[in-house]
Amino acid sequence: MKILVPVKRVIDYNVKPRVKADGTGVDLSNVKMSMNPFDEIAVEEAIRLKEKGVASEIVAVSIGPAKAQETLRTALAMGADRAILIQTDDEVEPLGVAKLLAKVADEEAPGLVILGKQAIDDDSNQTGQMLAALLGWGQGTFASKVEVDGDTVNVTREVDGGLETVALNTPAIVTTDLRLNEPRYASLPNIMKAKSKPLATKAPADYGVDVAPRLKTLSVAEPPKRVAGAKVADVDELVAKLKALGVVA
């Protein structure tokens, strides 16, 4: 089967985001950008399924500015076979992303679409579920284990109380949680090879999808700051503080 892996270019997880002084958003100029960590896990899972002989081809897709090519090249260097960039400088919300991905899925007819459970910038945690709804497929979200068995995929999910396993008919949607796998680093030869793998560039209009945003960001502000309190010298002082807080009698 074919696997589709949507990957998003986001602020690197090591960077501390700074809100712009004019309150219009987060300052992303001269900031290191990387593949969303959950999407690296998605690419890795697809590659492992290919190595097991379950998947035949891996197609990475990104919706974003021209620079999202770099993110797609990273996916190709890890082991994806080809890539599609739906290029836009406009804001595309999860609903719009899901609509575009649904069109790509119609064209590519994958057996699985593996997405990240959330992007670490907007933290929406929506796209995979929305895509599943639009395609009328089953969804295995927050996955920590994925096993394909014929026309069924068993997905173990990280839920509030622990773990839960669901069986889905394929084609299906999977969204990755942190403990699904540890993504590999691309080797230098593979990075070189990735440069000649096919990367198609499209526009949202090619898919005839209306991706106009439904949410308008009125302002973006820093959260209230916490200030560091005092240090206590020893355990006795800490016990006294806990008593003052009323947590211990």
Binding site: K16, P17, V19, G25, V26, F38, L95, A98, I120, D121, D122, D123, N125, Q126, G128, Q129, M130, A132, A133, G136, W137, G138, Q139, G140, F142, S144, N154, E158, V159, D160, G161, G162, L163, E164, V166, L168, A172, D177, L178, R179, P213, R214, L215, K216, L218, V220, A221, P223, R226, A228, G229, K231, V232, D234, V235, D236, V239, K241, L242, V248
Partner: protein, 309 residues
């Protein structure tokens, strides 16, 4: 505005998260509830007693057992014909279901709201809580998940809602529940505990969690949490993880032990009322947000602390 609130329950009891969602929904308008599951008559009765609740819609069918999104979303969509907003606490069930509902309604969901500014304007955290966005929705119907730590809990009693059965929308045959491994604990739940004791990578193994973190938690009647590093290393199960991609908590007191204070961890606990940190590195970032800090080796300090309280 008529709201439909997702009732999070375990087949028997209603989870506290629901009560926060009710408070948020009440700010928007009339509060109706949806109880879905198998054999949930008792849950519906309890739901009708929550303060401020009007109607309780009950969908009692095997198709809704385990809250499979593929089956629950069409049910919600059906009910949204006569409601203006679907409001759900940001639990793992609701995070799974709500976006599916939103896409079926062709609505852009507003995730994890912190406040309601007006009928169409909300604040929500982005970038691991480092940027709070104020967003305005142009959709006619709203689909909203609620950060439960940002809203007070509605009272469990005082209400006199009416219970009304709704027809099942059936099993869509796309997915099937296979099994679950749910952690059992006598301790309070992480997301509603007053005190949380959390351990990090520094604990070194699961045994140390049992012998160092748990006795302190037991003395304080606290829930036990952990950093991602501790969960990844297998010291404790995944449902202990606090952070951007784990659970969001805001207890009265949060005690971070052997946790460095990475932004992804802070995203899950920095709204706690009082933060206490025990770390042997005096420059650990956790101290920048801690109200009370103790620079010490946890293997000495924590047993001593447990002994003295």
């Amino acid at each position: 505005m008529k709201t439909l609130v997702w009732v999070e329950h375990d087949g028997g009891a209603i989870k506290d998260a629901t009560l926060s969602a009710v408070t948020a929904a009440a700010k928007l308008g009339e509060v109706h509830l949806l109880v879905a599951g198998k054999g949930v008559g008792g849950v519906a009765e309890a739901a009708a007693k929550i303060a401020g609740v009007g109607k309780v819609h009950v969908a009692d069918d095997a198709a809704f057992d385990h809250a499979l999104a593929e089956n629950v979303a069409p049910l919600v969509v059906e009910l949204m014909g006569s409601h203006d907003a679907f409001v759900a606490p940001a639990t793992s069930n609701a995070k799974n279901i709500a976006p599916r509902v939103a896409a079926l309604l062709d609505v852009m969901q507003i995730s994890d709201i912190l406040s309601i500014e007006s009928a169409d304007t909300f604040t929500r955290p982005t970038y691991a809580g480092n940027a709070i966005a104020t967003v305005q929705s142009s959709d006619a119907k709203k689909v909203i998940t609620v950060r439960t730590t940002a809203f007070d809990k509605a009272a469990r009693d005082g209400g006199s809602g009416t219970v009304e059965a709704v027809a099942s929308t059936g099993d869509k045959g796309l997915s099937r529940f296979v099994g679950a491994e749910i952690s059992k604990s006598e301790r309070p739940e992480l997301t509603s505990a007053k005190v949380i004791v959390s351990g990090g990578r520094a604990l070194q193994n699961g045994e140390n969690f049992k012998t160092i973190i748990e006795p302190l938690a037991d003395k304080l009647g606290a829930a036990v949490g952990a950093s991602r590093a501790a969960v990844d290393a297998g010291y404790v199960p995944n449902d202990y993880q606090v952070g951007q991609t784990g659970k969001i908590v805001a207890p009265e007191v949060y005690i971070a032990i052997g946790i460095s204070g990475a932004i992804q961890h802070l995203a899950g606990m920095k709204d706690s009322k009082t933060i206490i940190a025990i770390n042997k590195d005096e420059d650990a970032p956790i101290f920048q947000i801690a109200d009370i800090g103790l620079v010490a080796d946890l293997f000495k300090a924590v047993p001593e602390l447990t002994g003295k309280i």
